[in-house]
Structures are given as structure tokens and as C-alpha cells.
Amino acid sequence: MIRLIQNELYKTFRLKKMYIFIAILIIHACMTVYFYQSGGEWKSVIVTPNGQSLPLALINSLAQFMTIFIPVYVADLITGDIKAGTFKLTLLRPVGRIEWLNAKIASLFVFILVLVVLSLAAEYAIGTLAFGWGEYTFYAGEEYTGEEGVWLTIRLTFSMLLPYMACGMIVVLLAVMATNISTTIGLSIGILTAAQSLNAFEMIKPYSVVNHMYYFHEIVHKATWEAVLQNTAIIAAYIVLFYAASALIIKKKDLIQ
């Protein structure tokens, strides 16, 4: 299993896509800073212009990019592998289908983790280069000391791995069902984008994983432990359900490509 994951990661880091996504996130952070500096502060997400506050100011925008990056990555990782026939390099060896799926999911987790960590590091660096490190971290109307701010930033940023993974699992299910890459990408982006409109319904909102993809960090920041646990359980349920459905489909699927 470890070797299978190693293979998936080796392929992931040899793909140009990964580096293009990282470049897009860096360019986005640079542009946000540039527009703020050229007099656009009235419509910028930047409230306190300093390096230590920038990552939290941009935390929501990462979700928008993930809505596209995750489907593009997973479509290539799973549907592309099946469509191109390269899955046979693995599945004609002593490797179970569930192990194959698990390795793909582990690879997806590392992909998300790398994007989150690198965008966080890049935002700290770009913010500090542009504005200096600053006296305090500003987030959601409150000021934090430098050390508190860094811990808060790390805690909130990493808490987003969970909803990103849940959305990733929805895409994984679509990827094992679809027969071509464009279907996986189109359907996934369509569903993840359309699901944002569910946020208009207050009854559904707490159970919408797409809502959590944008706002889970706010729950982690402000809510009680009970509320955090309850929302974590909801997201975990998405992961478990979509994983189980994907595993069932891949186990029964006739691989005719």
C-alpha cells in the first residue's frame, strides 16, 4: 500500500498541473496585494495590510480555487488513469482495487495539503514583502499578537483540509463513475458551484459540505466545541459515505478500457 502511494505521489509531482496550480495561487496573492496598493482597498479583502494578516484575509478565496483544482486533479488521477488504460499497469499486478482507490485518495490528500501549505507560505512571504510583518494579526474584527496570530492562522487553514477532502470525495465518486475526463471535471465543477446556492436555505446550510468548504474555519474560530464536533461529524459523514460508494463501484466495475 505504501509503495502504491509512493507511485501515485511520484506521478503527481512529475505532472506540470501541480506547479501551475501553485503558480496560480501565488499570482492571485500578488494581484490582491497589488490592487490594494494601487488604491483598491475599498473593495479588497485586505483589512489590515501586513504580512501576518494576509493568509487569513485570503482563506476564503482558496476554496474558490479548490472548486476547480480538485476536479481537474482527480479527473486526471482516476478517470484519466482508467480512460488511458494506465490503470492496467497497477491492476494487472498483485494489487487490489480498493488498495488502488485508497492510494488515489491518499494522493489527493497530499495534493490538497501541498497546495494549502505552499499557498500559506507564499501568502506570508508576499504579504511581508509588500507590507512588512506588522504589529498584530487582524482577523474577524479582532487583534491577536504575532504568536497567537500564527497559531490561529495555522489552525484555521489546516481545519479546511477536512471540507476540502469531503468535496474531493464527491469528485472521486464522480470520477469512478464517469467515462471521460471532461465529464468528471464538468460535472464536479457544476455540482460544487451549483451547491453554493443551497446556502440560501438556512435549514440546509449547516449540512452543505460546499458551505463548509467556504466557512468551516469560521466555525472552528468562533463556535463552541460541541458545534465544532457536530460540524466535523457532518463533514466526516460525507467523506465516509462517498468513499463507501466509490469503493463499491470500483469493486464491481468492469474495466473495459
Binding site: 506521478k11 505532472l15 487490489g96 473495459i256
Partner: protein, 245 residues
Amino acid sequence: MENKILLDAKGLTKTFGSRTAVNGLNLRIKEGDIYGFLGTNGSGKTTTIRMLTGLIHPDAGEVRIGGYQLKSHFKDAIALVGAIVEQPAFYTYLSAYDNLMLTANLLTGVTRRRVLEVLEIVGLSDRAKDKVGSYSLGMRQRLGIASSLLNEPKLIILDEPTNGLDPQGMKGIREMIAQLAAEQGITFLISSHLLHEVEQMCSKIGIIRHGKLVAEGDVQQLLSSGGPRTLEQYFLDITEGDGRS
């Protein structure tokens, strides 16, 4: 002494919608055979091979490889096999060497040295560091055979290994198969509709028609039964006639 049965498929059946692709097919391949699996396009060859390698699940029947049931002991059974099913697919943005190293990483005891050895066997050592995207179809077929040799399998299953190759490429693959069978004692199951190729390569043949095995036996014995004839004549008699030779 009678050779042991390496691959034993009983009653394999597969239906897609209303079409029965394979219908109660029995197949037995003994150690040392070079078995030509013949049939016209759409006769059920590839579906059979996919069932023999676990890529598709039969509706009925079972497959045993080296005594291991494929369904319940997949890993033990498939560990004895090297296979190319349809076109050999590789990661085109990686080199041949990197592709083989990825596969070697999934196999117990397959070293870097073995990877270099199989590249040498198939004559790709000089191009090992080139990306597979730059390879011709013939080179990919050779790389597919190299990949299937990595784990020193007892049985190699090749689905249309000479498809799309020029005559020189076909000759190269044919010679390689003969050499591997003679020197390493590997058993081959080769599906093809290129009859001349099979006649030259195989010791035994089975002919599939409408998903059923309609003839099977030693190549020379089959061709001499009912008067001398070529494999092409025999094949046409079987597939265009009523299935009896």
C-alpha cells in the same frame, strides 16, 4: 510426463446488456504451451482475456491460475502472470525506465537490475531514458512485454501483440516470444486474428466463435486432420461453417 495445467477456466460467461460476449467457455493451458487464441473481431477474445486477468467480472464460471482461484486469491493468481491487454498503456510523460520502476515498486523482489535486464531483453536499453510519448507503437509493444517480464512470470498473456506493427516489428515480437518460451520456459497465451503469425508462433490453438470455443488442439494435428491445409483454411472452415471441422 504430462505437463501441469497452468490456466484453467471453466464455464466463463459474460453478458453485456442483451449480448452474450462469452458463453460457457472452457480453456485449459498447460505449462510450456504457446497457445494461440483465435477468433474474428467481436468473437469474445478480449472479453475472455479481461476475465482471465480480473479486469472484468464473469457472470458465471471461474478462473484458476497455478491452482489459485482468481476471484478469491487474486493476488496469488495474478502474481504468476504478466499481461498486456489490448494496447500497452504507459505514462507518456515518464521514461520507459521510470514506467518500469513504478511497476517494479509494486512487485516483491524486483530490483533496478531486473528492470535494466528486461529492457535489454526487449532491445530498449538505448532508449530507456526517453519519454514513452516519443515511442513508436512497436517500441511500446516491446516495453509492454518488458513490463510483463519483470516478475519472471510463469504465464504471459498477450492480447493482439502484433496489432499495428509493420512486418519487421511483427517478426521481432515473434522471435522474442519464441526465445522467451525456449530459454525461460514461459507459457504464453496469445490472442490474435493474424493467422499466419499464430501458425508460426504457437504450439496449440483454440478458436472462439460467438463467445464459444469451437475448436482446440495441437496446431499440426488440427491442420493435418481432414487433409493438409493452412491455418487460414482451417480457421475459415471453422468460423464460416457450422463450427465442426
